[in-house]
Symmetry: C2
Subunit: 188 residues, 2 copies
């Protein structure tokens, strides 16, 4: 009966991952400085003290969340690339973009990326996480699609434009300027 899965307590590793998952929703709203560790704890269903047993500091917690987000983005891109293997670079990029659009239909992922970018300005650890995250992502997109520099650049530029559209909830504003900015961008 060793491997019996009936346990009241989870292992620390399980907890750490579940905290990462739920912390995305917590940080998505008010970002690194605006979100308290108490809110993260409540979202995870544990005490605030235990957050500090799982992660040494708030900063370490946030950077772990950021890295987790980049992993999920990477997974989505891989799935998109797999669905278009053997096509032209442009078609692969399109498929990746579609997979990304599907991933961020839950806005929280994208909002954490935005807040991470903002926190990267003043927090060196966050900056480092964001840098390596984008480094890996850019190189992956380039390699998996085989697209030229300009197309890869446009791919990320449009991604950044998505950050803007989501952060100000442009969907809720029906005006020429929102239609111009959102033109051709898929929403699920």
């Amino acid at each position: 009966m060793k491997t019996e899965r009936r346990r009241q307590l989870s292992t620390a590793e399980e907890r750490r991952e579940s905290v990462l998952r739920t912390a995305i929703g917590a940080f998505a709203g008010k970002g690194y400085f605006g979100t308290t560790t108490t809110e993260v704890a409540r979202a995870a269903g544990i005490s605030q003290a235990y957050v500090y047993r799982l992660f040494p500091t708030k900063e370490a917690l946030f950077t772990a969340v950021v890295e987790y987000c980049f992993h999920r983005v990477r997974a989505a891109l891989e799935e998109g690339a797999a669905r278009a293997t053997g096509s032209t670079p442009e078609a692969v990029l399109d498929s990746m973009g579609d997979a990304y659009a599907r991933l961020i239909s839950d806005n929280d992922l994208l909002l954490v990326q935005l807040h991470a970018q903002a926190a990267a300005v003043s927090e060196p650890a966050v900056r480092e996480a964001v840098r390596t995250g984008y480094a890996r992502t850019v190189e992956y997109v380039r390699g998996a699609s085989g697209a030229g520099e300009e197309d890869v650049q446009r791919f990320f530029a449009v991604g950044m434009l998505c950050h803007l559209l989501v952060s100000i909830d442009a969907e809720a504003v029906d005006a020429p300027w929102t239609r111009t900015l959102a033109k051709g961008i898929t929403r699920y």
Copy 2:
């Protein structure tokens, strides 16, 4: 001699504007939640209490700063457009982009825009300020350049890409991925 400029005390209006100008530098680093009103006061060379005499709340102060930034962006774009009147839409966009690049050679302007975007997620007043700011800017760029929707969209997408590059200080990283993202983007 009414307009005699020798005064130790400034009028509240003058102070308000000087606070807005210096507050850009204060908010540029850690954004809305991460910057204290005391820091804003110190940057302006006044007491923290006086910040609250000039602006009713921290939120009102921040949104005023955001609006001030949009005004300066608008002025730069106008200058860029003026330098290319009568050219093709593409040339006007180029000239505007160049003027914008010059404006944000001081990074603070752009960082405030980024932080405003982040704060817009949770603070309705900030969201409203950012929305109307972009609404005006998009319509101005469209009207002054006469460019098509796609070009206008790309113009702003590249602007958003600049936000990323500056926030993670991509200039300091010499790697293929940074060169790809920064390709063709002027830096002064």
